[in-house]
């Protein structure tokens, strides 16, 4: 899917436009080191995407001749992930500030966990330089910012330890003054893993004047927090975009889902829609039994609709299937007044009171003995489980009961239900057929 690569390396990856940053701002140096790294890497600028977000560092991509993506605050890693997943051959470099690191913390953590092959440069100047010097997640404890006038009470996020502990392949911490920064950036890009460089620098507009900070302060803060600088972590985990393709390769070219048409081979006497509700409990195979009835309807030349209801906690409580069988297209799938109901459990009955109350004497209710005492105007018959072989277990009760009711209702031939079961081709097919035959014995 990738076009052939022609490398047109450049002597500089910067354009002619001067940087827009404040005098003394660390961004100048970091971007110059990035440019040197790109030179060193000798990459086609078309094959590099610089992804940035909001903040002064978000302006960076405009001063480079590579491809670029300037997105929403803190979300740069998500765009970069999409780009890398689609085009693993591209070098995707994320430029983000400490602001973006904080608001996009979940993305940072999960990108590290996946070890997606991005290079993340954190321009960490301990505050929001673009919006007035507010504190960020990396502001040192005690530091003064426009939103911590009495000194920061929060502990700063250790970005490096966080990503290193969670799957990153390459983690480095240093400052914008470090001589080896460009070599480290190049090394990170070459690593083809999730690589993060936490680059400490000075915001001369806010952090420096508010804290009388200097180059030396960076070391003082590091020491004060007990943090280390330099190459902190290297690990060899599978890179996600490559791992994804490797893992999914066996599926390549397999057939896509297509309609699974059901040819009618039986006939139904129905001349109007017939509405059936099966009310049971979770784990009772209500949905799968109802689906077989729906397929049996199609095998009988009818239209069918099946609407299921169950609690969010799927393994407990009620399981209701509403099935409409009709000689014509079904445009309304809800059942306000059922023609028949099959009651299998207390949990189910508790949910269908309104439908039971709406039924009339000509309607039918089929109930297991323990729930046969319901209040309804419909005629209630008790389902006799005596014929259900004990070897089939409780999981066959729903289908047995549907087959039992079907025999009485005559809305479609029992053979259609058997044929639907045979179509299943699953391990349950024979058991299901046995349950249907038992109900009709």
């Amino acid at each position: 899917m990738n076009p052939p690569t022609t490398v047109t390396a450049l002597s500089t990856y910067r354009n002619q436009t001067p940087y827009p940053f404040c005098p003394g701002c660390g961004h100048h140096a970091i971007l110059d080191r990035l440019n040197e790294a790109l030179n060193d890497l000798h990459i086609d600028p078309n094959k590099v995407v610089l992804v940035s977000d909001i903040g002064c560092s978000g302006l960076s991509d405009q001063y480079f001749v590579t491809s670029a993506f300037h997105g929403l605050h803190g979300r740069s890693i998500t765009y970069a992930t999409g780009i890398k997943l689609q085009r693993p051959d591209l070098k995707v470099i994320v430029v983000m500030g400490d602001g973006g690191t904080g608001i996009g913390g979940a993305h940072l953590l999960n990108a590290a966990r996946r070890n997606i092959g991005l290079t993340v440069l954190v321009f960490n100047n301990f505050n929001f330089g673009m919006t007035g010097g507010q504190h960020s997640t990396t502001t040192p404890s005690g530091a003064f910012t426009s939103t911590t006038p009495g000194g920061n009470l929060e502990r700063p996020l250790d970005v490096c330890a966080t990503v290193a502990a969670n799957g990153a392949g390459y983690v480095w911490r240093g400052t914008s003054f470090d001589k080896d920064l460009s070599a480290r950036i190049a090394e990170a890009v070459r690593s083809d893993s999730f690589a993060l460089l936490d680059i400490w620098e000075l915001c001369t507009a806010y952090f420096v004047p508010n804290n009388q900070a200097s180059k030396k302060t960076l070391t003082t803060i590091l020491d004060g927090l007990g943090l280390k600088a330099g190459l902190l972590h290297r690990a060899e985990y599978p890179e996600y975009a490559a791992a994804y393709r490797k893992a999914t390769l066996p599926q390549r070219g397999l057939s896509l889902p297509a309609p699974r048409p059901i040819s009618p081979v039986f006939e139904s006497p129905l001349t109007r829609p017939f509405r059936l509700v099966v009310a049971g409990a979770a784990g009772g195979k209500v949905k799968s039994a109802a689906r077989l009835l729906g397929e049996a309807a199609l095998l009988s030349g009818l239209w069918a609709a099946q609407r299921d209801d169950y609690p969010i906690t799927v393994m407990t409580g009620h399981s209701i299937a509403e099935i409409v069988l009709s000689p014509r297209e079904i445009d309304y799938t809800a059942i306000d007044r059922p023609d028949a109901m099959i009651l299998l459990s207390r949990e189910g009955v508790a949910k269908v009171g309104a439908q039971l109350a709406a039924m009339r004497p000509e309607d039918r209710v089929f109930a297991l003995p323990e729930v046969a005492d319901v209040r309804t105007s419909a005629a209630v018959s008790v389902i006799d489980l005596a014929r259900l072989p004990g070897s089939l277990g409780k999981g066959s009760t729903a289908l047995y009961s549907i087959a039992w009711a079907l025999k009485e209702l005559g809305v479609l031939p029992i053979e259609a239900l058997l044929a639907a079961t045979a179509r299943q081709g699953s391990q349950y097919a024979e058991k299901n057929a046995e349950a249907i035959r038992a109900a009709n014995a």
Binding site: N2, G82, I83, L85, T248, P257, A305, A334
Partner: protein, 368 residues
């Protein structure tokens, strides 16, 4: 021959047949079946499906992947759509083709996670800052879930913008019967490569839409969520910003006739017109059949495109009636669009917000 299937499966098939190659989403009832199926299916076409750490990441990945050459879709429900909001704006200003499926459930907030609603209709239209237009389609049957997903991919490509497919819990999770030979298969245009000599953006003529520039091709591609010039460089020059924003408006609103999609079922002599969309339009069709079987006249309009408002078709349908009944599973969100077009006809809302469907009987009782 017929099949027994649901809206989620139809949407997945529609997306795959439309050439979808990328999906990212986050689990949410009732949209999760789409996520799960896309995870299984996309590897078969050398595509990528990924479960994001949240909805923000999911739509972000879709936007990034699209600019790297993918044709992307994501799916969520109301709470997730809230988290998509800011990135929808990014896709609008960056002119990113993207299909967003919103399987509506009852809101607000967590609301009824497993109950039906149609409460995101205005949210889809106005759900991001700035108020710029998007496109939204609303299938009213399982078969339309398939065809309108294809159409959504085509429109996303044509107009380079987010296209919403507004469905709901009932359409997506209720299994129904579809006549296999009657699936409508609207053509889906292929992506045309933008010549590397051309800038990634163009604002004149305002309603024209150039091809999408993609990363990794012969040229450098710049993309930004800030106001930008044709080269993708940030600008605040008022004349250029005005051109950009006028283009974002005009490309959709001035081409509304191309997007408009309705099913007109107008009957001579009818004084009542039903207007509905989505799952509620199913009950409307059932009601129309019964009303006419009883010898009364009634007209019906199913809106398959909700945004931009299909004003021409609505105007035509309104021309000969005295009364319009607008049915929807909310407090009347689309009724306000009909009211501003009604020109004297009485507009009545038929609403339900208890997590149940509007029944055909409710339509029947509202006919005059």
């Amino acid at each position: 021959m017929r099949e027994f299937t649901d809206g989620s499966s139809a949407i997945v098939r529609g997306a795959l047949d439309a050439g979808c190659t990328f999906f990212a989403g986050y689990p949410i009832t009732p949209a999760s079946p789409i996520l799960m199926q896309m995870m299984s299916e996309l590897p078969k076409v050398d595509g990528v499906a990924v479960q994001g750490e949240d909805e923000i990441a999911s739509i972000g990945m879709c936007i990034g992947a699209t600019l790297a050459g993918a044709r992307a879709m994501t799916a969520t429900s109301g709470p997730g759509l809230s988290l998509y909001s800011e990135n929808i704006g990014l896709a609008i200003i960056g002119e990113v083709p993207l299909v967003i499926v919103d399987v509506q459930r009852l809101g607000p907030a967590t609301g009824g996670a497993t109950t039906v609603g149609q409460g995101d209709v205005q949210f889809a239209r106005w759900g991001t800052a700035g108020g710029y237009p998007i496109i939204a389609l609303a299938p009213s049957s399982v078969s339309e879930c398939y065809s309108l997903t294809r159409r959504a991919f085509d429109l996303a490509e044509r107009f380079r913008c987010p296209v919403f497919l507004l469905t709901d819990k009932e359409l997506n999770m209720t299994t129904n019967t579809v006549e296999v030979d009657e699936y409508d298969k609207p053509a889906v245009r292929a992506r045309t490569a933008l010549p590397s000599s051309e800038p990634p953006y163009r604002y004149l003529p305002a309603a024209d839409v150039p091809s999408l520039a993609q990363y990794g091709g012969p040229g450098v591609v710049r993309f930004t969520g800030s106001t930008h010039d044709e080269r993708g460089l940030i600008t605040k020059t008022p004349a250029k910003v005005a051109q950009l924003n006028e283009h974002l408006r005009a490309k959709i609103e001035d081409n509304a006739a191309e997007i408009e999609l309705v099913v007109k079922d107008l009957q001579a002599g009818a004084s009542t017109l039903f207007v509905s969309y989505g799952v509620t339009a199913g009950a409307m069709r059932e009601a129309v059949t019964r009303i006419r079987a009883a010898g009364k006249a009634v007209s019906a309009l199913t809106l398959q495109s909700l945004w931009p408002v299909p004003e021409a078709a609505i105007g035509e349908a309104l021309a000969s009636v005295r009364r319009v009944v607008v049915a929807e599973l909310n407090h009347g969100q689309y009724r306000r669009e009909i009211e501003r077009l009604a020109r004297g006809a009485e507009v009545v809302g038929l609403h339900r917000v208890d997590g149940e469907l509007i029944a055909p009987e409710a339509f029947m009782e509202s006919v005059r």
